[in-house]
Every structure is written in C-alpha cells, then in structure tokens.
Subunit: 320 residues, 2 copies
C-alpha cells in the first residue's frame, strides 16, 4: 500500500507578550487547526515548556512563542496555517515559515508548493527557494519577509531517509509490532535518553513518535513499506551526533540532511557521512530572516543491475 | 518560463499484411490522432520507409508496420493511443507499448502513469514496470501482454540529459537562433551524417529535430531554459557511439541511458561513461514481449555548496 510519508512543515512565531500560545489558546483551537488540513489529534504530552500533539498525519509542537507542525500524506497543511492567520491578530504574528519536501507521488497531492505559497502570499509578503534539484531530492522553503530575525541559537535539524534496507522495511512492517519494539529497533533509549515519549503504531504499519525534555524535542515518522519507504527525524538536538547510528540501522539508499542555523553544518557533513554515500546536492543560504539553511542530499552509487518494480494496473502505482 | 520537456512515448506495431500504415492511412488520420493529445503537426519529411512528422510537442514516426510517437508538455499521449485503438480492427494491432519518463513537475500533468495504464487496460491486457527509483530519474514502461515477440535486431536507444551546463543553456536560449546554428552546436553533420532533416526552433526557444535515412531515424528535443532544462535523443542507431561527444557538448548534471534489445548495454556503459558521472540506478529486464530493456541513470557528485533557486510567488514555480 502506497503512503506519502514526506511532510509539509510550518513554523509560526508569535509575540508571546501579546499572545501566549500555551496559556491563551485552547486545545480545541489546535484541534480545529489540525482538522483544517484533514488530520486528527491522536494523543498529547506536555511539560512546562511545550505541548506535543501526535497527529493522524505527523506532529504538532506548541511552545509559548511558536508552534511547529508537520503533516504528511495528502494533508493540506497550508490550510491550517491560513486558519491560524485568519484567527489571530496580525500584529501578534512575528514570522511564518513554510516548507515542503519532494514527494514520492506529487501528482497525488491536492496542491503544489507553488499553489501553497500563492495562498500564503494573500496574507504575507515572503520569499521562496528550492534547495536541491527539481528531479532529485529537494526542499522548498518559504519565509515571511519582514523584520523578524532568527536567534543564532535557534538550531534545528532534519534527517530524511528514503528507501530503507529490505531488512529494516520487513522489520518495521511486521504485523503486531509494539511501540517498545520499534523504540528498541531505533535504539531510542541509548541514542536519545531521558525524554518523555508519546508514540503510536498505525494499522497495518507506520509509526510516529514525539519526544520532549525541557525545551528540547524530537519527532520520528516512519513509512516502512517497500516501494515508498521513508523515515524522518526532526529535532532541535544536533542530529549529526546520531546520524551514523541511524544510517547503520536503516541503510537507506538515499537521504537528506537539513540544518537551520548550524555554521558547522558543512564540516559535520564531511566528518560524519562516509562511504558508500556520495553527495549529489549541497545547497546553503542565509535567508533574509536570519536562518542559515543548509541542505545536503546523498545517494549510494549503483554497480549491479537490478530488476524493475512490477506495478499493478489499477491506476494506483502500487507495487504488485 | 517553465516547460515540461520530458516525454511520454508509445509504439504500436500492426500486421502490415492487413493494414499498411504508409498506404492505408491518410495524413488526416495522423493529424486527428495527434490532436487527440492536444498537439499539432508542424511539418513532415518522408522516404520510402518512413514518414516523420514534427509536432508542436515532439514527434511522430510512421513506418509501414509500426508508429512511434513522443509528446512532451502536458499532452495526454494516451488519448492518441486510445484513438488509434478505437479506429483500428483489433486483429490488426499486434503490440502496444507505452512509456513515461519522470517529469519535472508531475503535479502539473493532467494524468499520472497509473491513470494512463488504467485507461489502456480497458482495451489491452498488459504489464507495467518502473525502471529506476520513484524519487529519482525513472522510466515507466507498459507493454501489451500477448503473443507478440520483438525481433532481436529491433534496437532503440534513448539519451536523456537533465540540467545542461549554463553555457549550453545560454547558447540554446539565445534569441533568434537558426536551425543551422543549433545543428552546428550539436555537431549534427559530424556525428550523424547523411540524414534528411526536418527541424524547428520554437519561440522564444526550444528545438525539435526529426531525421531519417532509409529505415534509420533519430530525433532530438531541446528544452533549454535553466531550471527545467532537458535534452532528449532517441534513435535506432547506437547512441553509445555519440554519447561521450553529446555529454561534452551539454555537460548535464545528470542523464539517463535507455537501451532496448542491446545485450551489450552494460558493457557499453562501463566503457563509455566516465568520471565525473556516477551511476545511481542500473535496472534491466527482458520483458515478456521479448524486449531487453536496460536503464542506467547517472549523476555528478557535488563537492561545493551552491545557493538555492529563488522562486517567484505566483504559484507557477518559475525561477525569478
């Protein structure tokens, strides 16, 4: 069964002296916001700094001065952002960024990135970029173009793994797998200890995890099925410290690393990413909002001929 | 200005003892067939073996026992094939193959490959495959599954070049370029001498060429604009003999080679394709219709960080 794991992502920063996202906004509002993109809240955890909602399609994290939302499948995340803008005083919103990764089947999506930023441009003046080549892995980034400047220590990382090994795919599509078994598979306790965790195994497979500790967070989303497998890690922790181990576990045939505001990104790529991976795309820019965005995409060279994927003829592009 | 250069392609083989495509079918029929996918015939050349039509979106070649059609942009080539099937006695059609390459903007397409083969499956029993990874260069191939077996000497090649060098892109988007200047740029007379040629420069740029000599043919289609540049060569001549020279001329950042019925394909890849190109996809299979299909995709490793592509906000994903 095909599923588009690749996420859209948005971050909205507010002036929390005027609007406290933790104190002034009810869970009902977040539920409505999430429903605008056809997702549902499944569960949540919270601490004094953060509320983390696990969604039917990915995650929503709310801090007092910002929220971060990632949604996958054919959700229209931009509609949730429009809902927030329409229900908030314009002067309370300091900054909006909107990001969209390459999809496996972009023709199955209800809108393109172009459509999305056209909608956002009705409300905001912004700038947009494509990091990476159009016919390969890439990330679209839109940001509001105003006086907002990112704090230098506002760092975030993404590790996006495509086509994981047959072993990992088989393991993660095993029927009846428990959350604990998946945590163990990813060596969660060893790699990222001490977090409060909220996770969920979808039926028949698929896995999402939210984790918080103080102001730190990470989130993992797993689309394990062969043919469209995809695993994403996103965190404000430095994912370079665990990248080698994650690549060992998943052996993806290709992956992307993204860094926001890490001036050591390029150096870390060189020291962390080893053979057989080869970079086919390296892109970086300090955006006008102050974020240094770095994108690096990696592939494995092919030396042996394999057989093509047989497709069924129902029009769904499913593997047979 | 964005244009989807990537082509759909179909080949239909008929029993020419019952239906001679050269003698029994009028040019008006071909015109109607081409119009079914929203293309137009611009001009044509012919010899005793072949009629070659240059289209507003690519090419149509008609031999006595088969026709080959390639169309780019957002044409719905499958509708032309449906038109042929609906207007031909079923017993006259020996074999149908339908192919679709990865597109730059698949979300701008009116149908997916899945939709297309669903339509064809109303008329034909077939099999379908994807050569290459979904998130990278790939080729979808559908073929009718019947008693038809390809002749071993029915060989065809494709060379598909993506993101040509800035120099080549600038040269090929020069205003007022003549067909002769483009032929010279590609060293046509040196590389492929002795062909009758029909070519056309589109406004403001873009170039198509059909060439025939006896039963041999080649066709070139050029979408030169930076951001979505694409150049395709297709021929029944061995394109490996000119691949190095074409790669020198275009310096694409990535390219694909396809071979139909060349058992030496893998060996030729090894001896012909040199540094800096690295293969990230090698796929081959002898289909049940007897065609050995080989697909090899190549990228250039990246060692330096570049800046992202700035996009405009009109929803068209145009480069600024």
């Amino acid at each position: 069964m095909f599923f588009e794991g690749s996420e859209k992502k948005a971050e909205v920063v507010v002036d929390n002296t005027k609007l406290s996202l933790l104190n002034d906004i009810s869970n009902t509002f977040w539920q409505e916001l999430v429903e605008c993109c056809n997702a549902q809240i499944l569960s949540s955890i919270e601490n004094e700094h953060c509320k983390a909602f696990l969604l039917s399609e990915s995650s929503l994290f709310v801090w007092d001065d910002r929220f971060l939302i990632l949604t996958c499948g054919v959700t229209q995340l931009v509609n949730s952002i429009e809902y927030f803008i329409q229900n908030t005083q314009p002067e309370d919103i300091l900054h909006v960024t909107y990001q969209r990764k390459n999809e496996y089947f972009s023709n199955a999506q209800l809108t393109s990135f172009g459509d999305d930023i056209k909608l956002l441009s009705k409300y905001l003046t912004g700038k947009a970029y494509r990091f990476g080549e159009i016919y390969s892995h890439h990330n679209y980034v839109f940001h509001q173009d105003n006086e907002f400047q990112a704090e230098p220590d506002d760092t975030t990382y993404e590790l996006l793994a495509y086509q994981i090994s047959e072993y990992a795919s088989k393991k993660l599509t095993t029927k009846g797998l428990s959350t604990q078994e998946i945590r163990d598979f990813f060596c969660i306790n060893e790699l990222l200890p001490g977090f409060e965790i909220d996770d969920f195994v979808f039926d028949p497979y698929g896995y999402s995890l939210n984790a918080i500790k103080g102001t730190d967070y990470y989130t993992i989303h797993v689309t394990p099925q062969a043919g469209s497998s995809y695993v994403s890690f996103e965190s404000n922790l430095d994912l370079f410290t665990i990248a080698s181990k994650i690549l060992d576990i998943l052996s993806p045939s290709s992956f992307d690393l993204l860094g926001f505001n890490d001036p050591q990104f390029s150096k870390k790529v060189t020291t962390t990413i080893k053979s057989p991976y080869i970079s086919n795309s390296l892109v970086s820019k300090t955006l006008d909002n102050g974020y240094l965005v770095c994108f690096a995409s990696f592939i494995t060279p092919e030396t042996q001929y394999s057989t093509p994927l047989a497709l069924d003829l129902t029009g769904e592009n499913h593997a047979l």
